[in-house]
């Protein structure tokens, strides 16, 4: 059986048939212009009385050439993230987001304990030395999550059948689009493809980090 749904945040278009494997929820995210949206966070939570978040993980966000790598991380509530600093220069990572406030000096050769994220929400990361460094951590209570690839696709595999609430988040999404979860029913032994088209264009992508390794 092949199930296809099109969830459009702006206008409803014609359904398209996309094959999907059994128990796999396939999410395809398109921008307002129809181009695939890369690097968006997608979470899927089963709707029901016994839903549990995914088990906490130990993740890492590196600092490479004055960039956070990856720029966007999704972790379940209770997870820890290490900031190993792959650069040879010092960084001072911070967040003043309500979901997790912290300050982390990353000097050469001085490793620091991982940071634990206990509250769901978006945590914006910065570097107190290099203003162009911006990163995000999405702390989620969802059991299933991932980031869209170059084709704007994410496949969440081995999902039990049932009804799910799918949310998307992208650092450059405008406010209105962020608040609209999609409900999908994943039948037993079947796949489901959800195509989401944003109603607003993404905000402009930020420029690359400055070439200079010296902070001025």
């Amino acid at each position: 059986m092949r199930c296809v749904a099109i969830a459009l945040l702006c206008v409803v278009g014609a359904p398209v048939a996309i094959a999907a494997g059994g128990g796999t929820l396939e999410v395809r995210l398109l921008g307002a212009d129809g181009a695939p949206v890369t690097g968006a966070a997608v979470t899927a939570s089963a709707i029901g009385p016994q839903t549990l978040p995914a088990a906490p993980v130990e993740a890492r966000i590196d600092q490479i050439n004055m960039e956070f790598v990856p720029k966007l991380s999704i972790v379940p509530v209770g997870s820890s993230i290490a900031f190993p600093n792959g650069d040879t220069i010092s960084h001072q990572v911070y967040s003043f987001s309500p979901a997790r406030r912290f300050q982390l000096p990353l000097y050469r050769g001085q490793p620091h304990a991982p940071v634990r994220f206990d509250t769901p929400g978006v945590v914006a990361l910065g570097c107190n030395i290099h203003d162009s460094m911006v990163g995000y951590v999405l702390v989620t209570t969802a059991a299933h999550y991932g980031v869209t690839d170059q084709a704007g696709m994410l496949r969440l595999r081995s999902l039990p059948p049932g009804e799910y609430e799918v949310r998307i988040w992208h650092p450059r999404m405008r406010e209105r689009g962020e608040q609209q979860p999609q409900r999908v029913r994943l039948p037993a032994a079947a796949g489901f493809t959800l195509e989401i088209r944003l109603s607003d264009a993404l905000k402009p992508s930020p420029g690359a980090s400055r070439a200079s390794r010296w902070d001025y």
Partner: protein, 421 residues
């Protein structure tokens, strides 16, 4: 004794003149204190070869507008040392010095030396405080280490003048609102500076007009060797105990577009004569605006304008010059390692008082084309061609030459950077 005098325990020998040695002592002491992290060291050797068709340059006291002599030479090769020492988590000390083969300053070559306090942001707001000797946030092109420009070898006329005569010897507070960390696409900031040792900012500009070059006057340095009659050669002196100030705003959108505006006033008392430099104090004010746009496909556009006046008032009689300079720069990254840039400069300087001709005036423009290639992060090969035309009345007044002159220059640079980080 005024505020600036009180801040100046090691007064210069000449009566009424103080220089800024204690600022450096403070940094030197800070560098010796126990660090929380090791010092970042950057040593840069820059071999330059140039061929020019130009008048004797400002470095020989001439009226030439390029850092050049009328021959083939390696005269502008230089060595730069940059040190940045973290002091705990929120303080750091920075020192920058350049030793140039063509420089009359010898070893007095510290261009910046300051302590910076930068606490972590809180609730979207961030403060930064600098104390010492450093550049006010005016230039949008001089953003590399050592206040160099990554787009060309020389700086624009606007920023060449800043490098020659305008340095903050004092304190600056910057307050930023970090919207990019709160779901917005822009950051915004205010900056305010209070400075002394600024009595002769504008003196050399009024005497000689604009140049398009890359020499930065050292904190203890002189703007040029005496040749032709110059006004004060030492821009960073304090004699009137009147601190100057600047106020500026900044708006930064998506790390792509930056807008800045700044008002500067050194509040110099133009009635005061300073025998050490045989000159009156110059009262200099200007407004500077600028933008920098960086597109996603590798283009950079920078435009700046600076306009203001500078004046002395011997016996209370105001003698005043107006100046106005601007430039537009277009630069493009070509692949990951090449950059090509073109810049057009326009500048003018003239005495406002009517009926006192002849006097010095300067009007001209310049083209600069540059190619920079970085085969590795620590190596850079660059070539720059400059053509500048100036109508300089002093050429006629002092040398008996025609005021109009076009100078050209080709410079090659091979730069090697050594870092411990």
């Amino acid at each position: 004794m005024g505020l600036l005098s009180a801040l100046q325990p090691l007064a210069g020998r000449a009566a009424g003149v103080r220089r800024c040695h204690p600022l450096l002592f403070a940094v030197a002491l800070a560098l010796q204190s126990a660090p929380a992290a090791a010092v970042d060291v950057e040593l840069v050797a820059d071999l330059r070869v140039q061929a020019a068709d130009a008048a004797p340059s400002f470095l020989q006291g001439g009226l030439g507008k390029l850092r050049a002599d009328d021959d083939l030479s390696i005269a502008t090769s230089r060595l730069r040392l940059g040190l940045a020492q973290p002091l705990g988590e929120t303080w750091r000390a920075v020192l920058d010095a350049t030793f140039s083969a063509d420089d009359p300053d010898g070893f007095s070559d510290v261009t910046e030396a300051f302590l910076e306090y930068r606490p972590y942001p809180s609730e979207g707001w961030r403060t930064r405080v600098k104390v010492g000797a450093f550049y006010a946030p005016i230039s949008l092109e001089n953003r590399s280490s050592g206040w160099e420009t990554p787009y060309s070898l020389s700086s624009s006329a606007v920023n060449a003048w800043i490098g020659e005569e305008v340095r903050t010897l004092g304190a600056e507070v910057q307050l930023d609102w970090l919207g990019t960390r709160m779901g917005r696409a822009f950051d915004a900031g205010l900056v305010a500076g209070v400075h002394g040792w600024n009595d002769f900012a504008g003196a050399y500009l009024a005497a000689r007009g604009f140049r398009v070059q890359d020499r930065q006057t050292a904190i203890f340095g002189v703007v040029a060797e005496p040749g032709l009659k110059a006004y004060s050669r030492e821009p960073f002196l304090e004699s009137d105990d009147r601190p100057g100030y600047y106020l500026g705003v900044r708006w930064h959108y998506a790390n792509r577009l930056e807008l800045r505006a700044l008002h500067y006033d050194n509040r110099g008392d133009g009635t005061v004569y300073v025998s050490r430099v045989d000159d009156f104090i110059w009262h200099t004010r200007f407004d500077a605006i600028g933008l920098r746009l960086e597109t996603s496909n590798g283009w950079t556009v920078i435009a700046q304008r600076l306009s203001g006046d500078t004046a002395i008032a011997p016996g209370g009689f105001l003698i005043l010059w107006d100046y106005d300079a601007s430039f537009a720069l277009l630069s493009r990254e070509v692949g990951p390692r090449h950059r090509i840039s073109a810049r057009y400069d326009d500048f003018s300087l003239g005495r406002r008082n009517p009926g006192y001709a002849p006097s010095n005036s300067d009007k001209g423009d310049a083209w600069t084309l540059a190619w920079l290639y970085e085969p590795r992060p620590d190596w850079r090969l660059a070539a720059e061609w400059q053509r500048i035309h100036g109508e300089v009345s002093k050429r006629q007044l002092l040398l008996g030459e025609a005021p109009g002159l076009t100078e050209t220059r080709l410079e090659l640079s091979l730069r090697r950077t050594f870092r411990n980080h």
